[in-house]
Symmetry: C7
């Protein structure tokens, strides 16, 4: 399976990530953790709607069920 | 998996949390319990719509299936 | 897990509860039973839409899949 | 778990029941059977929309996935 | 469980059935097979929208996930 | 279970099939493979919207979760 | 099962693929990995809406739950 999705997520721990949820909302922050359901933990996160920051979170747990995509900064 | 989502939730027991549900509703209250489905128990909770308190609950059990995110007050 | 969601529900047996379903409908009645899927049994239940009673049920089984929250009267 | 949801359904076999589906449609008929997914079998059933009978079924199997609530005639 | 839903479906093999899908579409045809997910096989099937035949199928496999109800011709 | 749904799909390998997805989109092509989730592989497939070909695919894997029905050409 | 869906995906590793998500969004990029839930990893990906590139991603993990179809470039 080459580079498994969860391995890519694992490598992104402590890195900046972009998370997109169903309905088009986005979160940017430092990935602190995850589990096999793709539930995610972000630190120092900001929520963006249409590219504008609308809220800040010190810590936020996002349910995997709501997640559409995760983009890490690795290249 | 670094800081697992359920560990973050566990650490927030007896702390103030913000819960967001599908459809944009929010609840604030003291987290009293949870389970692996992310079903949550809040005490002295208030429901907010567009930032306004619309209802108060002594105790409320929220089904994990409806939860989008949980933000604890830890930093 | 402190106070597990199903334990809170269990403690509410024979007590008055408020149930909210997806779509915003509410039921009030005496909780008679439940199972691990959060399927619920209410007795002498009334359904409310926008706070108005629209129907009464002697007994009603509500599928957990439709449930958003359960608020018992314990404090 | 006191009166389990499936026990209440079991006790309603051969009794008149009201079934409500997602989207607000209702069925009334004699409950002939069920399974653990809450798939249901009704006999001599009528479908109601806004309280009006719109169709009759000799036998009908309803998928549990569509069911919101079941109200038996026991009190 | 008296007459289990899948038993009723099993008895309807080679019989005419009415299938209703989510969104209100209907299929009529001869039931040729099924499985535990309520995936169904119909032969010589017609699709109806608002009671009008809109399409014919020699054979069609319908995913159980889309099925709301199945009405066999047994009485 | 007479003619099981997956057996009908299996018999359609290398045959022309019509696939309908949620939302009413259709695909026609040669069925090359499937799995128990009803994920499907089509070759030389065309996508149709309202009966008009809108796209062509050399190979396409369709997730079973999106599939409503599969109609093979066997009679 | 002839050419299983996941085998087709496996053969597309390091190849250009087109991914379509629920709601009609598309991604094009190099497939780097996948898992049995059809979670996918794309590299050098572009997101298209109505055929126009709207965003670029160095790496992106797409949740299988959002995926409708995957079209590899093999013929």
């Amino acid at each position: 399976m080459a580079e498994k999705p969860l391995d890519i997520i694992h490598k992104s721990i402590e890195e900046a990530v972009l998370i997109e949820l169903k309905g088009g909302r986005e979160f940017r922050g430092t990935l602190k953790g995850y589990d096999i359901h793709m539930n995610l933990v972000l630190k120092d996160a900001e929520e963006l709607v249409n590219g504008e920051v609308v809220r800040n979170f010190g810590y936020v747990v996002i349910r995997g069920d709501s997640v559409v995509l995760i983009s890490p900064n690795i290249r």
